[in-house]
Symmetry: C2
Subunit: 241 residues, 2 copies
Amino acid sequence: MQVKNIPLEERLIFALDVAEMDQAKELVRMLEPETRFFKVGLQLFLAGGFPMVQWIVDRGLKVMLDLKFYDIPQTVELAVRQLQGRGISFATVHGNRSIIKAAASGADGLGILAVTVLTSLGQEEMEEFGARRSIEELVISRAVAARDAGCIGIVCSPKEAAGVRRKAGSELIIVTPGIRPETGSSPDNDDQARSASPFFAVLNGSDYLVVGRPVRDSDNPAGAARAIKKEIARALEAVNR
Amino acid sequence: MQVKNIPLEERLIFALDVAEMDQAKELVRMLEPETRFFKVGLQLFLAGGFPMVQWIVDRGLKVMLDLKFYDIPQTVELAVRQLQGRGISFATVHGNRSIIKAAASGADGLGILAVTVLTSLGQEEMEEFGARRSIEELVISRAVAARDAGCIGIVCSPKEAAGVRRKAGSELIIVTPGIRPETGSSPDNDDQARSASPFFAVLNGSDYLVVGRPVRDSDNPAGAARAIKKEIARALEAVNR
């Protein structure tokens, strides 16, 4: 496997899953010595909007705007256009074929990540649809479609990363949430039904790891982030050997 | 069929699908004599945020915030909480069971509408999942689940409204996009694959009709809105007879 040339301090994307800008700023200040990449999701974006994004970008940090657009193609294309020129590195859209095509055509340099199947919802959706395919098949087919549509990368669970990497090639960026450190203090998986360790995720082809609660809920968030970075570094070495 | 006691001027929800606040304000000023309900979607919300919503609410008008949240349940619940206390009448979430349950538990008086299946994407999703069910089955089962989870209503295409009304009962609010006036000038259905006339929608149980382009693209938007209202009134009479 070919390892991408991504600085270690950008491989851990910290999820700013908080209700207020002030809390988010405190977390950024605390964690920026360890990670240079922050994820702004629905909750925080609704509280802080683009000024929150700008504040992070102005510190020289990277932003993944994780709003998971999911609407008719024209609306998604127009929504993606509203994100341009704001210094955002990655923005997420839901991974249906027509949506990702629309998003990619509105992207214009913005890195679009297609969310293949939500880690917590895959099984429910498959059952609800009476589906004949496995989650992994669906994730892989959406990943290939995302690559072909011009998306820079995809979001999938660590469990499907290896299959995606095999079928979609080495250039596609793979971002994996649902990370629980091996040494962490979170025995329950909460609503991330398909979680895995940072070591497993990297070994299976993940380029960026999204981590929220295991760091935030730690007594020592910066220390927890550092431990995850070390685990990522160990896995990258194992991959390169 | 029991017709709900909704003022005629609220039954037509005008979709403010524009890129800038100023354009939206112009449309609101032009159309408020005809309709008192406006939909703010992803594109406009990204441009104007809550100040745009507030501007509409401050004029004594109603707002449907159509962001179609689609994320893990905990995130959706927290996102819904961010919408409270802002005078929003309806907010949309995607209709998977766990998402609507989470949304309803964060709603606290806010009217949550579950988007059953996107009008433009239903068939693609069903094929992609290798699904055994028809779109109508999926829409109806999601509508019943939304009702049971405490959602005030659902969004579905006019074609599925009758089936939803039959199975989910008379109280559930049914909101239908994909409306093309019978007398309108839009022969193509664009990306609204399951569209129908206002008359058909109301006759089949729709309480609120979302209309955008057929009004906006008309030479006389207020006149086009008025014509749709007349068609709604005609249909309501037919239902009551």
